[in-house]
Subunit: 292 residues, 2 copies
Amino acid sequence: MGCAVEGEGDTVTARVLSDRPGEIIIESIEGDGGRLSLVASKNCVGIAAIETLKLLGQPSCGIALTLHKGLPLGSGMGSSAASAAAGAWAVNALFGEPLSKDALIVAGLAAEASVSGYHADNIAPALMGGFILIRSCSPLDIQRLPFPGDLWFVLVNPKFEAPTAQMRAVLPKEVPMSASIHNCAMGGSLVAGILQGDAALLGRALDSDLIVEPVRGPLIPGFADVKAAAKAAGAFGCTVSGAGPTCVAVVDDPQLGEAVAEAMSEAFVKYGKLEVNSARVAKLDQAGARLV
Amino acid sequence: MGCAVEGEGDTVTARVLSDRPGEIIIESIEGDGGRLSLVASKNCVGIAAIETLKLLGQPSCGIALTLHKGLPLGSGMGSSAASAAAGAWAVNALFGEPLSKDALIVAGLAAEASVSGYHADNIAPALMGGFILIRSCSPLDIQRLPFPGDLWFVLVNPKFEAPTAQMRAVLPKEVPMSASIHNCAMGGSLVAGILQGDAALLGRALDSDLIVEPVRGPLIPGFADVKAAAKAAGAFGCTVSGAGPTCVAVVDDPQLGEAVAEAMSEAFVKYGKLEVNSARVAKLDQAGARLV
């Protein structure tokens, strides 16, 4: 599962190319430091647009895209899914929104498969907003889980190039049965916390991962101290966001969130010897991809 | 997690022994075929009573118990937890119910530890009724999950002595990461199905276990056919109940449940070459342990 948060995000513009039927071109990308390819078939936003065009039944025009990255690459905040969601929604919007957001997930999945594997954890919430539980990717079986009440996330992104290959390689291929049972209980508790509007339970569930956090956390300088600082400052729980290095904590009050953000940032500086790119308190987003 | 169902259950009577302070004795056990020990410290009902007495602060009397087994032993329906819950509640009731049901879980846990390990999956719902999600056993962190609406389980118990040692030995010590992720999604979906009153989702989640069912199912003659028959007859999902050999299916209508029970029973006879002890359609129980 995954969720969307308000604030930073990617923006895509789409323009009809009447003389280039079926073609997707990327005209420009801003905010990526020149790291992303302008070749549509090699870029999340391009792939999502290509797949959306297929779903639309191959209209007799092409589409030119521009992408403005609002989310940093490789931050663990689902940057690629943000581009894919924006690309799919922009193309769909150009034709009057004939497809629903959940129908567009398959387009986003194709884009995600090219960068981080065939999973909907990021793309589904990026499109639909809120918490999305993915029971199965094929066939696609997803649930939008409403959180009754307000919820805030504290996202602290340190200036640290997370070693993506190592972050993936460190995941075990096999896990102890006891850890699997434990994490399954946490998965259930996460859902129970969300649906019952119990931010404290949600935090306890998020805070107690025995499989991924124990191997990825140590690769982020200062992580254990950041986690401890978040909880000492009043967060319900703290863990690695995605593959890191961003750390995320859960709070039910935005003012408390500011204090937690400060405590986490200080811990990154003091114990991780890392500068902090951004520290923000973001509300759970309910809208997902949208026309701006 | 686990849940309680209406119908069959164990019954305990408790009587004050004013001349034997602090002592628990078991006077008689019916319905166990002579298999259970009358020594209190070697029997679930006795251990639960002893632990409950400790929680009550060691009153200056002893207690005599009788146990009537309504649930068959080794059936995969939580027979030992039923005895433990009844024992704990009977002792507590004798003193005017000073302890709450969730306070008695620790007494039941001690009893369960002696037969099937330190887990609250059976004892918590046996005491409290409904669905109980156990995030953690120590410290105890449980959630009662209300199912909005009605829900029925089809429980078909074949005449088959499940090889308990083998049923346990067959569980892997390590599981593939992919299976762990999958089962975690099922755990979340199970909770989502319950809290949202979505019996179909609950069934899909229950039906798709990649860790336990694939190794335990084949030890129950005819299991694959029973599962297929349940679903062909309209059940939302079917799996092994506990360690088996009882199989459980989920339905949202009791009449449909009868048809599913018949289809499952026929499959046990035809493909498993097993007679059927009992086949019943049981409603989700909301009360748990109670005074009768």
